[in-house]
Assembly symmetry: C2
């Protein structure tokens, strides 16, 4: 595959990795973002994609054969209900139309796991069978954009794929986001706050997310494609993995040992004692007791 690909959000957390992958695949890469770029490997365009004229001028200047549209409002926490979501939906549809009008052949757009109905199938998300029912303005804007773009692509013959991102992590991630904040707290020896320790989530390294998008751009697969690991990991386990990495190099705080476990042979064999509870049943009883106190 070769061609000229325009990457929006090219300077961002995932975009930088997608750009590297697309260059390696032989694409001529044009990037666009609101800020200047110091990346000499691609042709950079500084533009605000929410500006109609800027979009028109950009596509006129680049005339890409391929479009990878990653840009959106993504500020941590803010994006779920950001008033900018509808504007990004409109700008995305307009960008795809202008891209095709200018001779573009294949577009890949970043969608989201937030498009799915999270309450179904025990949280397993299949592109073709899991119904979409977004619970957030962000999810609704992404889904509405997907539906309108898919309809237009089917009618006009544009090759369109929609890569639904799940959770990402990796270097350069925003400091306030989950994995970054866990790492920073543990490196600083501070307590770690887990809002949902038992929640199982699908985490993908941003470099793999970018490379997966590169592969998707180069392929002819159409429709929705999950960009994810396929593995559900409890957030408490993520914290534990990070803790193991952090304490691998640093001593535990206050001489507190990494492990402290009794041998109970004497208690069991000489005293003849067997516990009534295991930790699971004991905690269940204790949680029930605290629930009754309130």
């Amino acid at each position: 595959v070769s061609g000229v690909v325009l990457v929006t959000g090219a300077g961002g957390f995932v975009g930088r990795h997608a750009v590297a992958d697309l260059i390696a695949r032989g694409f001529t890469v044009h990037g666009v973002g609101r800020k200047p770029s110091h990346d000499d490997s691609i042709t950079w365009h500084q533009a605000d994609l929410l500006d109609d004229g800027a979009r028109a001028a950009l596509l006129h200047a680049v005339r890409p054969s391929h479009l990878f549209h990653l840009a959106w409002e993504t500020r941590h926490g803010y994006f779920w209900s950001a008033p900018e979501n509808p504007a990004w939906a409109e700008a995305t549809l307009d960008l795809i139309r202008r891209f095709q009008d200018g001779g573009g052949r294949r577009a890949v757009v970043a969608g989201s796991c937030a498009e799915y109905d999270w309450s179904l199938n025990d949280g397993d998300c299949f592109e073709t069978t899991t119904p979409c029912r977004p619970a957030t303005p962000y999810g609704r804007a992404k889904l509405a954009t997907f539906e309108a773009a898919s309809e237009e692509a089917a009618a006009s013959g544009l090759s369109l794929a929609w890569g639904r991102l799940f959770l990402l992590y990796g270097p350069h991630e925003g400091a306030a986001r989950l994995v970054s904040s866990l790492i920073r707290a543990m490196l600083a020896g501070e307590p770690v706050a887990l809002k949902e320790p038992t929640a199982l989530r699908d985490f993908l390294h941003a470099a793999d997310g970018g490379a997966a998008f590169g592969a998707l751009v180069a392929s002819d697969v159409e429709g929705p494609v999950n960009i994810a690991s396929g593995r559900g990991v409890a957030i408490a386990d993520v914290a534990r993995m990070i803790g193991a990495d952090v304490s691998g190099a640093d001593a535990p705080p206050d001489g507190s040992p990494a492990r402290l476990v009794a041998d109970v042979s004497r208690l069991r064999d000489e005293v003849g004692f067997t516990p009534r509870y295991n930790l699971e049943s004991g905690l269940t009883e204790t949680v029930a007791w605290w629930r009754d106190q309130s």
Copy 2:
């Protein structure tokens, strides 16, 4: 076995369970504590065990055949370096002497995992082979008491066992202690702070701790005996177990799903993408990156 047993700290977190167990074993139980008791099943003595005269009067009044000495300074956080630790060590030795002088035959005293050298054997604690080297004033006071009491018991023929408690949990535990605070935070829907998510600890239900002491009192086992489960569990896993118990009855906050995991058949089979990282290797790289930022 039968006899008259004096239980110090009988109204506390472990003591109440030990009392129930000793009654079930046929002992006549006398309890002592600083506060009044509403427990009609035993003869209660209100006394301050740090007061020499109070100890003498108590033993004179009860004339126990067995002593289970559980009382000590145990206020959360405070006890590690409490100035009361040496006074409890002295009071404990005096209590044992007076107990034997009055005809007492068998004493069981509560020791602590804090007596062991935590840096050895990957944290495995064996009563007979793991060297003791307490890192805290509390641990040093307990160990010094154990050593002096053992020596005196060997010389005088007193049957003495020393039950080393590891971590306990269960109903009625102080609200600020680890398991209680995790449960309370999760029931309130608040973030959970884990200082050492990866630390492996040995947790025993307080009812089992009390019953184990009951069994130890009734036995003729002498010397140190670990009172514990023998199972090391990461604190993050304890949090996860509690979370599962809590969310079993409550809906997750904000409609956030318990599980959200992508099917990646399309990405793998149709796009042909394979990730470079798994979560372990990706987190290791990300932790290293953050470490370099500081």
